[in-house]
Symmetry: C2
Subunit: 326 residues, 2 copies
């Protein structure tokens, strides 16, 4: 019998887009399987994952975190959103002072909600620079600004991030993107970011069209990033040029669909912004089953099941002495 391993992989040549999907799903496809992280439990529910390096530091705060072999539990004595948020914040600020984690250098004074699923009530809030230490699901909004150009066909507006940005400085990125911070709805965030980042007027934004979500789970030296982006398409007139208002953008460029493909495959593109562009190129027929033999796999890797990732850990609750009926 021939080597079945060779057989199994023989016809699965890694396409360029699949390679990229493995890059922005680095934790989903590798880290998650290793089971080296502990479940982060709040109010009897898993809301994240904690790496060993982070667990060591959290174990120095036994009044705030209860560390068990498979889990880190926020002290159940904290009964509500405000109490949980305040206790976590004080620990994080101390860690920031001690310069323990590179991500905390980028403290934003802007909070993300912490919950298991998007439709759940938030259990606490946390500075956005810290959520990757706990593997908290992040939500953001992206606008694909595009032009149906009379000569060049489908063209897409890309931005180069400011060279002084804390994360991914100088990298190419989507035209408009922003995190969903506490108190802002999806549609409000889209309008706010569209105005700040690209001077999209209310009149232009009338064409804004919701087009779905992408979900992926990235790991970097900063931490764990389970990320869901709400995707919007916006057709723009050929004579419109985006102007940045918040100094977070180096420049904008209108590029053809095929040049967009080159950009996302280059290391000069922000890895975690590729899913939104690939999804756009798929929905507009640029990447299709004729030119991408691993098309169904690629589509699935743009929509990994983050909303159900943290639901299956009921067994951890017993370990914590927190039965569900308690």
């Amino acid at each position: 019998m021939n080597d079945p391993t060779a057989h199994a992989h023989h016809h699965r040549t890694m396409s360029k887009f699949l390679k990229l999907a493995h890059k922005f799903n680095s934790f989903y496809l590798n880290g998650l399987q290793k089971k080296e992280c502990r479940a982060f439990i709040v109010d009897g529910i898993q809301v994240g994952l904690v790496q060993a390096t982070v667990t060591i530091e959290l174990s120095r705060y036994p009044n705030v975190f209860i560390v068990n072999p498979n889990s880190v539990t926020l002290n159940p004595a904290f009964r509500d959103y405000d109490e949980r948020s305040a206790n976590i914040e004080s620990v994080l600020k101390e860690m920031k002072e001690k310069k323990l984690f590179v991500t905390l250098k980028g403290w934003r004074d802007e909070c993300y909600e912490v919950r298991t699923m998007f439709a759940d009530q938030p259990l606490l809030k946390m500075d956005r620079s810290a959520t990757c230490l706990f593997g908290i699901c992040n939500y953001g909004v992206d606008i694909n600004g595009y032009v149906n150009h009379p000569q060049k066909g489908l063209c897409i507006w890309l931005q180069q991030r400011s060279l002084t940005k804390q994360t991914w400085p100088g990298k190419w990125d989507n035209m408009v993107a922003g995190g969903l911070s506490v108190g802002n709805s999806v549609i409000h965030t889209a309008h706010k970011e569209g105005e700040e980042e690209a001077s999209l007027t209310a009149d232009l934004m009338k064409n804004l069209q919701s087009a779905g979500t992408v979900s992926f789970f990235y790991e970097s030296e900063r931490g764990l990033f389970p990320d869901t982006e709400f995707v919007f398409d916006l057709e723009l007139p050929p004579d419109f040029v985006p102007r940045n208002q918040d100094n977070e953008v180096e420049k904008f460029e209108l590029v053809t669909a095929s040049e967009t493909v080159n950009r996302i495959l280059s290391p000069d593109f922000k890895t975690t912004s590729c899913p939104v562009i690939i999804d756009f190129l798929i929905r507009h027929g640029i990447i299709n089953p004729e030119n991408e033999p691993r098309f169904p796999e690629l589509v699935e890797l743009l929509h990994v099941p983050l909303q159900s990732l943290y639901k299956k850990c009921d067994n951890l609750l017993t370990e914590n002495g927190l039965s569900k009926a308690e």
Copy 2:
């Protein structure tokens, strides 16, 4: 402390679309967890799942199937595609004669390829009526025919299936859909089905646009259906009316987007055709984060990870005495 179970589910009111997503993912969300099915192994690779009722019948053919506690293995003595296909076919035809399984009444004389991932080389072929007995991944093609109507806005062509069809007779369905049978590419299937089912001319089909895939895992009394559909959108002129050529359609109807929502929520719609319509309504902004609080979850349930579902069963190979290096 309040009941944390109640807390966890309090804000997850099941939306109408989520309910539907649970229906067409009945096996993914329930059956898969129960682990009552055995892995179906061909050439050392899992390609499907076999229910207990099917296993009992397969165990009567020990020269063809080796039944173990957690797996059913096709005899490794069958060395190639043709030998495997012929041996399985002779068993299935005998089962059909014996009227053991309702699905085999619908014998099609049309085969589907059997493989783990879409990009893999097929290991054998099997009549499409039988694949649900082995939980083989099915692939199909769907065309969303739509009209941007000057008065009514976005409208969608739906078909009512023939009252004499073997499966889902009389139910409402997508305008055009067809399975990917042996020897036909995705795009060829789209063109063939478009012509046969709705008389879409080559001229109209110039606007055909690839728009992605949907993946879901349905279970019915007939068996297991892990299904991936290649989705195409086709904008049609307001005066075009589809005409059926193969007697598989009762009638066509052009309905508004909001009426389409009513149709898919009604029991008169073919359950397994809903994912394609929901995906269309999401990509066109009709279902969006403003009107669907569980939007990210809904999108994920349209793209469940079927391409990686059968890859994680290497431990079964040892049980079969087929180590990977053998």
